[in-house]
Amino acid sequence: MPVRVQTEDFDISAEIALLRAGNASVGAVASFIGVMRDFNDGSGVSELTLEHYPGMTERALEAIVAEAHSRWQLIDTLIVHRVGPMTPTDQIVLVVTLSSHREQALAACAFVMDYLKTRAPFWKKERTGQGERWVEPRTTDDEAAGRWRAGGPA
């Protein structure tokens, strides 16, 4: 259940190949990549800087992966999250889930992203035409994470 925080970019093909190498029980690979776009809240964005809480970040990501593995039949999960300065079109985050069956892999991948957005200590600061500003959390992110509580999709 690897989790990584890094400044470097990542290659999804290489990451998936490594994660599922030689494991013939894998029948489904689900993945998500979060990418930097050039607009947010009605303004153009030219640069993004991601800050995090070293130590707690890894703990929080590992806890999210452990929670996913307790809810779905997963073979392995990978999270790679970048920090530092980024520009539009850059990749920010990668989640890969491996399972024998697609329903498990797809649901777990969505769950990991929803929980990551509300529980992992990352903060985005963006540069717009009006200067720099800290990104405000979205209530839709809380709602997305909330749907996984007991009684939600599983």
Partner: protein
């Protein structure tokens, strides 16, 4: 006497002009919530940033903590705005 390490992140770190500090807890400050209230009494910027109406998260020893969490000697306590990763 309990001594804790305090860490500040993102907007809080910038507006308070402080990344980390070591603090000897006053006798009356025994929980995360009480600590936030105590810190908000340090001056205008602190009062504004830690205003009870503002959403601030706290972590104790790198786990998210409720205001009722009891603090102990040697704890690492972090204050930060809601997270925005992903």
């Amino acid at each position: 006497m309990a001594t804790i390490d305090l860490l500040y992140f993102a907007r809080l770190r910038e507006s308070l002009g402080l990344e980390r500090e070591r603090l000897v807890l006053p006798e009356a400050v025994s929980t995360a919530g009480a600590l936030r209230l105590f810190l908000s009494g340090r001056g205008e910027t602190w009062a504004r940033e830690l205003d009870p109406n503002k959403v601030i998260r706290m972590a104790v020893n790198q786990d998210l903590a409720d205001p009722g969490q009891v603090l102990a000697d040697g704890d690492e306590v972090a204050l930060f705005p809601p997270v925005t990763g992903g």
